[in-house]
Each structure stands twice: as C-alpha cells, then as structure tokens.
C-alpha cells in the first residue's frame, strides 16, 4: 500500500485544546498539564484510507498564535487544516472567522478545512450552540465535528473525515526537478543508513 504524507496544520486560539487533540489522536493519551509542543516539530500517525495509507504530519502552532505571529511557512503545503474552538468559550468561536480568513490568505487553495468544537465533555457549561457552529462550517464547506480530547470522543472520527475528503492522488507529473527535503543522507547513490 502506498503511503501518502499529508501535512495537517492546527489553528485556533491558545488554550482550546489543539495539542490535546493531537496527543489523543497520536498517542491516545490525555494530559492535563501538557505544555504545547515543546520539542515537537510535528507529530505523525498513519491511518489506512481506501487502498492508501495516510501518514498525517500534524503541525502544532508552537505557541506562535499567542501573539498573532504565525509564519506563512506554517501553512505551506498543508493538505488539511483543523480549526479548533472551545465549546465552553464563545470568544474562541468568534475568532474562528479570523482563522478562516488567515487560512484563506496564507493557506494552499485546495486545502481541506475541518472545524472542531473541543471540550464537548463540558456540555453543562457550553457557550457555543452546536447548531450555530455547524451552520457556519457548512457555509464555508468545512467538515464539522465536536470532540473531546479528554474522553477520546470523535478524535479518530475527525481525522477519518479528513482522510475521506483528501482527493485521491493524481498521476504525479514526472518532473525531473522535483522538490525534496534535505536529509543526513547526502547522495542517493551512497549506502543507506537510516
């Protein structure tokens, strides 16, 4: 089965649970005190989708959203973006539009957008009605789902939905000068060590 690497970038206000969602998805683990993304360039998890394997490279904001200083490089080459808000914080839903706009400005044109209302285990102090969020998501043709990273609700489903929306791989144009990542392995001809 072919492995396809898909970059997914997370967006949303500080404290809505972006890192918790990744942590739940990748390690099926929830931690109350995670300091977001210390030392993590991105986290990866591979899931099957049809006759492909999707290897998600999930990028966290590394706190650069805190003072509105996300770099354009953060969005480069993303296949999907997950915009997270906190269902118990109306503010975090209201800024969603700003994130959508930012994504439209800097993100790739064909990016799959998913909106995740996190902390749905705290339904009793909910401030954002699900209906309203769902309608907004529909209006921008985005995936919508409410999640709870703490109780492992809908986190897998979120990424499954994304997987399904990723368009199948087109016949890659054979370009003699394709782009590549720099690695420790200098030349393709020498022995492999990694």
């Amino acid at each position: 089965m072919a492995i396809r690497e898909l970059k997914v970038c997370l967006l949303g206000d500080t404290g809505v649970g972006k890192s918790s969602i990744v942590c739940r998805f990748v390690q099926d683990h929830f931690d109350h005190n995670i300091s977001p993304t210390i030392g993590a360039s991105f986290l990866t998890k591979t899931v099957p989708c049809g006759n492909e394997l999707h290897k998600f490279l999930i990028w966290d904001t590394a706190g650069q959203e805190r003072f509105h200083s996300l770099a354009p490089m953060y969005y480069r080459g993303s296949a999907a973006a997950v915009i997270v808000y906190d269902i118990t914080k109306l503010d975090s839903f209201q800024t969603l539009k700003k994130w959508v706009k930012e994504l439209k400005e800097h993100g790739p044109e064909d990016i799959v957008v998913a909106i995740a209302g996190n902390k749905n285990d705290l339904g009793d102090i909910r401030e954002v009605p699900m209906k309203e969020a769902k309608e907004f998501a529909e209006s921008i043709a985005a995936i919508f789902i409410e999640t709870s990273a703490r109780n492992a609700v809908n986190v897998e489903e979120l990424f499954q939905k994304i997987s399904k929306q990723i368009p199948p791989l087109e016949n890659a144009e054979v370009d003699s000068n394709e782009s590549f990542k720099l690695t420790r392995q200098p030349a393709p001809s020498t022995r492999r060590c990694c």
Binding site: T14, G15, S19, C23, Q27, H29, F30, D31, H32, N33, I34, S35, P36, T37, I38, G39, A40, S41, F42, L43, T44, L57, A62, G63, Q64, E65, R66, F67, H68, S69, A71, P72, M73, Y74, R76, G77, D91, T95, K97, K98, V100, K104, E109, L122, S139, I140, A141, R150, D175, N177, S179, F180, K181, L182, T183, R184, P186, A187, C193, C194
Partner: protein
C-alpha cells in the same frame, strides 16, 4: 485572540527576524534558554523576507510614504536607581533606497476602473535620513490605520457576505478572465469572499494600493498576462528581497541538516548554470556529465577542462606561484582558450578580473565540492523562496518554547551603570522585560552608536516578472543562475537567478528573475542596461526573441558585509546582527550567528539535532503551562478527579512507557546516526 502582556523575564531578547537573528533564536531556545523574539514589522524575515505580489506592492508603498517625524516616547520614568537608558533607532527602513517600479504589461481588465495609464516612474531620494524616519513613522501610522480598518471590515463583513450572495452573477459577468472567474466561483462557494470580489466592486481598502505604474497596453501577442492578473493571483508569488542560493555543501545546508530544521522546508535543485556572452545566453557545462554532453565544447576543450578541474582540487606549487596574482592571469597561462576561460572565471569561480588566484581557486574548489550532492549544479533553492529559511529557524525556536511577537519592538535598553550591561529592555508599549543578553538587527542601532562606519556599501537589486525563460529548453521548469560579466568596462558583474513557477515563487506562464550586483550608482543605473539587453522592454534597442518583462522593480539595499557583531558603543551583552550581503551563499551570516551564540553560551552545543517527530512523547511531569492555560487545566484536573478512575490507570501505563522512551536517549541515537552518516 485577546491582547495579552508579554512575560517579563527572559534569558535572551532578540529584535529582528532576519536570518542571523533567527538562527541565534533557534540555537538559544534549543538548549533551554528562554527566548523572546520580536519584530516591529508585521512580517517575518526582515530584509530576507519574501512577499506576495500584493504584499510587495504594499511594501513599495510604505517606502514611498512621507510623514512627519515624531519624538520617541520618554521612558525615563521607568528608570530605577543605577540605571541608564539607551534608545534604539526607531527606523528599520534605512536599508532600502532608490525604489523604482515599471509595468510593461497591459492593464487589460474590464471591470477595473482603469488606473491612470501614465508611465509613472516613482523615485525616491536616496540616503536621506529624515526621509527614512518619516517613512518609519508613517508605517506605524499605517499599521494603526490598518487595524482600525480591520475592525471596520469585520463589521462590514456580514453585510458584505449577504450582498455577495446576491451578486455572484453580476461579478461573473464583469469578469472576463477565466482564472479569475474560477477563483470567484470557488470564493462564492465558500462564502469567505473578501478582497477579491470586493476588488471587483472597487470597495476594498487593500485594493487602494498603488498601481505603481501602468503603461498603456503594448500590442504584442506574447504578452498574455495582464497587470490585473498579476494582482489577482498575487498571493501565489513569493518575491524575495534578497537573492541568494544555498551551496549544497555550504554552512547553511549543513546547519539545516544538523539541527533538523531541514524538516520544515523543501528545496529544488538549481538545474542550469548559464552565462551571458557575446549577446547570447549559453549553458555552462560544470559536472562531468555536462562536460561530456556539451555541444559547445570541442573534444580538445573537454579534455582540457576535465584536466583543469581535476588538477585544481589539489594545491600545487604552480598555484602557490600565482597566489598573489589575478586568477585571470593564472587561467590565461593554462592555455585553455577563450571559451573555457570565460566559464571558469565568471561562472565557476564567479570571480572578477582582479580576483587573486588564491581566492579564485578556493571558490572553484567549493563549487566542485558542492557538485553532485543533490543535483548537477552546486546550488539549491528553497520552495516558496528564501524568506522561508528564517521562518523555519523561528519555528524551531518556538517549538522549544521561544515566544514570538510581531508588530512589537524594543524602544530602549536599560543599562546597569555599574556593570555596563544591559539588564532589561523596554518594549514599544512601555513594558519592562528583563534579559541577560540582547541581540539586535543592525538596522535598529542608531548611527551614533555604531562603530565608525566606512560609507555604507549598497547592493543594487532588480526583480523582474517575465513571460519566458532566458534560454529555452526541453523543460520549462528550469531554475537557472546566470552570470553576467560586466557588459562594458566599468560596469558591474551581475548575478541573475531565474525561477520557474514550480519553485512556488511565481504563477504559471511567468518567470521570476532576480538581479544583484554591488552598487556603483542607483539600482536602475546599474542594472537596467543588463535588463534592456537580455529582455524585451520598451527601452530595448530592438525587440528580439527574448523574454518580455511584464513588471519590474529596482531598489538598492544596504550590504550587510561591513557590519561587525561587536565594537559598537553598546553594552557588552548586546550583539549586532548584520543584514544580507551580496555573496551568493550564506556563509557570513551563519558564521555570525554561531559566533553570537558562543558569545552568549560559550559551553553549549550550537543547534544540536531536534528529536524526530516519532520520538516525541508528551511528558506531563516536566512540562509547565502558563497563565490562562494553567488555570484552565487545573480546573479540568479537578473535574477530572471526579471522573471514573479508568483513565488514570491508562495514564499510568503510558507514563511507564514514557520513561522507557525518553527523548534524550533518542537524541543520543541521532548523534550516533549522524556520526555514522558523516563517516
């Protein structure tokens, strides 16, 4: 996204997000220093930035604005006993001068309320200090205005969205361009419609941007891409202020790999080395395969060239004998013939006629060592432009806890009168932030504090958007460097880089061409003779089978090569980073960043590899959350305790796993791997 105060205690505060500053930030953060990284601008990478087409137009506009000088706020009330203030220069725009824009393509857009079709060449007075300050103030004002506009925009947004629901048909009718049409359709589908449709409605402030110069349409069939289309697809451009390449075995590539920052970027090989000679663009054979495949070289020449390249890798007595004499002389005496001599001097050594043999040989060797690591030329270019590289280092810094804040500056330093060290900075909002070290971009240091400067050297730059490649070939996706020797005595040697759309720096159907040379006059004076010779512009003496220039920009920028890290009239724990220099590679900047890092942390390793993504385990024990999050998480924790104990069990199991898979051990493994690889 509520405004929040910055934390007030750091180990290292860094002002400016250029390459050197960003590398220092990443390196310090990586070894556990608390880093605050600021930039007064709203974009990353300072003079190393890349812009979308529209972003570039705004940047040009900012440098054209004039405004009244404004006094710096007086922060002396914040002083405590035994402290002195050092004000930083409020201006960072001094590094740009002589901006000139020309548009040679047609406006050609029906719904456009035609901008005046005058050949408006905008000029700016060079090195006028008050001007620079004014521009600076104006920028601040602009930013404020922008923010206000944004607020207004939001209010308007809902209203607009409603309007747009009703209007798409009209918009469609008014748009003739199929690409734009597609764009608008997709925009309508998503209801995110803002600038583009507003543009057609003529109501968006963004679109009040300069149409810096628009000439009446030039009837020529080849010109298909209009100015309107450049603007419309502007976001797909990534136009660098600096034009450089990465040597495949240069210090930047080594650093990217060593630190694992390379994960954040992708690269393309420069596919061709070209040179301009006798009025023609020719390909320079440089790899063994090229040499043998070359049709320009005779068999004798091929043999001579191979012999020369092999022999120059080792230092011989003959080389020593020519040490102080020009490389050109050495080449002449090798009886290589005019062809080879030209290639070797201009394209391989990238030397001038006065370059001494020693330097010429050194750069020839560097060139040859870099061949074949990734491709057939020694050079790489990052996808989306050079501006990505500083951003990648910034991300690395952030990933290790560095705090980022754009549109935020340091207005002065607090000096401890006894120790003569900077103990804190005061930011542009009057907040006192303590630090042990301060790193600053050269542009923010006032001229009065700088080491007596020899007259600032300048680089001349030109950026062209053209409609085809300077040398047609089988593939239209070539990335080329073109060396242009002085076209007449006394004119500068020009380095030209031509980028194809697959580098993600320009739109299909165009090429982005960067020209760079040491300035002797204004950028236009230095570079327009080359442009009019190699491309079709209205100023070209005759229109030939050459690419046409659709749009171009000339400007001068400060050459960073003269700026020293130390020796300024500044506290001993303040380090100055220079801006980009005119070299093709990045050696000086990387060396400088490493030097500053070791000044700050003499015993720490410079940019050790970051752990692999697969090896990261979130470790709740050792990490700390701050502020709001912490509170929130504490609340959650309390609620959690009331929950069933099932999760706790799970958690314990995972913690055990974590102990086994400690990040540090992975780092060690990586080091070993690295050693193996280097062997």
């Amino acid at each position: 996204m509520a405004a929040e105060d910055l934390p007030s205690e750091f180990d290292v505060v860094i002002l400016g997000t250029g390459l050197a500053e960003s590398v220092v930030a990443a390196a310090c953060s990586r070894v556990g220093q608390r880093v605050l990284h600021l930039d007064r601008r709203s974009h990353y990478a300072a003079a190393w930035a890349s812009f979308t087409f529209n972003g570039l137009l705004s940047w040009i506009q900012q440098h054209h604005e004039e405004s009244l000088p404004e006094a710096a706020p007086d922060w002396s009330s914040l002083l405590q006993e035994g402290e002195e203030l050092i004000y930083l220069s409020g201006s960072d725009s001094g590094f740009i001068a002589n901006l000139q824009v020309f548009c040679y393509t047609s406006e050609e857009d029906e719904e456009e309320e035609a901008a005046p079709p005058a050949d408006t060449t905008e000029e700016e007075k060079s090195d006028n200090k008050t001007d620079e300050e004014e521009v600076e103030k104006q920028e601040e004002k602009l930013e404020e205005e922008e923010q206000e506009e944004k607020l207004e925009e939001e209010e308007k947004q809902e209203k607009l969205e409603e309007e747009q629901k009703e209007e798409p048909d009209e918009v469609r009718r008014r748009t003739s361009n199929p690409v734009a049409l597609k764009l608008i359709e997709s925009l309508n589908a998503s209801h995110l419609v803002q600038s583009q449709t507003d543009h057609t409605q003529g109501a968006e402030p963004e679109e009040d941007q300069p149409h810096p110069s628009v000439t009446p349409s030039q009837p020529e069939p080849r010109k298909k891409i209009s100015y309107a289309q450049l603007v419309k697809e502007g976001r797909r451009f990534n136009i660098d202020l600096v034009s450089k390449l990465l040597y495949s075995r240069g210090s930047l590539v080594d650093l990217l790999i060593q630190s694992n920052v390379s994960r954040y970027a992708e690269f393309k090989n420069v596919t061709r080395i070209l040179t301009y000679r006798h009025g023609n663009v020719e390909q320079v054979p440089c790899s063994r395969a090229d040499v043998f495949a070359s049709r320009q070289l005779s068999v004798v020449e091929k043999r001579k060239l191979m012999r020369f390249l092999t022999s120059c890798m080792e230092d011989t007595e003959e080389h020593q004998a020519y040490k102080e004499r020009p490389y050109l002389e050495f080449l002449r005496d090798q009886n290589l013939g005019e062809n080879l001599q030209h290639f070797l001097l201009h394209s391989i050594a990238m030397a001038t006629e006065d370059t001494p043999t020693e330097a010429g040989l050194a750069s020839t060797r560097h060139f040859l060592r870099c061949l074949g690591r990734y491709g057939n030329t020694p050079f790489l270019f990052p996808l989306y432009g050079l501006g990505e590289i500083p951003q990648c280092f910034c991300r690395m810094c952030a990933v290790f806890g560095g705090i980022y804040c754009l549109r935020h500056s340091v207005s002065c330093l607090l000096l401890d009168s006894h120790t003569n060290r900077c103990k804190a900075v005061i930011d542009s909002r009057g907040q006192r932030i303590s630090c042990s070290h301060f790193v600053v971009e050269d542009g923010f240091v006032g001229a009065d504090r700088k080491k007596v400067a020899t007259p600032t050297r300048l680089l001349s730059r030109a950026v062209l958007i053209t409609d085809s490649s300077v040398l047609l070939s089988d593939s239209d996706q070539q990335v080329s460097i073109v060396t242009v020797p002085p076209i007449e005595a006394g004119s500068p040697a020009v380095k030209m880089v031509e980028l194809c759309p697959s580098t993600m720096t320009c739109i299909p159907g165009t090429y982005l061409v960067h020209l760079t040379c040491q300035a002797s006059g204004s950028a236009h004076q230095d570079l327009s003779p080359v442009v009019t010779k190699m491309f079709n512009t209205p100023d070209s003496p005759e229109q030939g089978e050459r690419p046409s220039v659709l749009w171009c920009l000339y400007f001068n920028m400060a050459d960073g090569s003269g700026v020293e890290v130390e020796g300024h009239d500044l506290p001993s724990n303040v380090y100055v980073c220079s801006g980009p220099d005119g070299d093709l590679g990045h050696e000086r900047t990387i060396k400088q960043a490493e030097f500053i890092f070791h000044k700050i942390l003499p015993d720490e390793e410079f940019c050790p590899p970051a752990p692999n993504p697969e090896d990261i385990i979130y470790d709740g024990e050792s990490s700390t959350a701050t502020g709001e999050e912490e509170k929130q998480e504490q609340e959650e924790e309390q609620e959690e305790k009331q929950d069933e104990g099932k999760q706790e069990e799970k958690q314990e199991e995972e913690e055990q796993q974590e102990e086994e898979q400690d990040v540090e051990t992975h780092e060690e493994e990586q080091k070993e791997e690295k050693q193996e690889a280097s062997e």
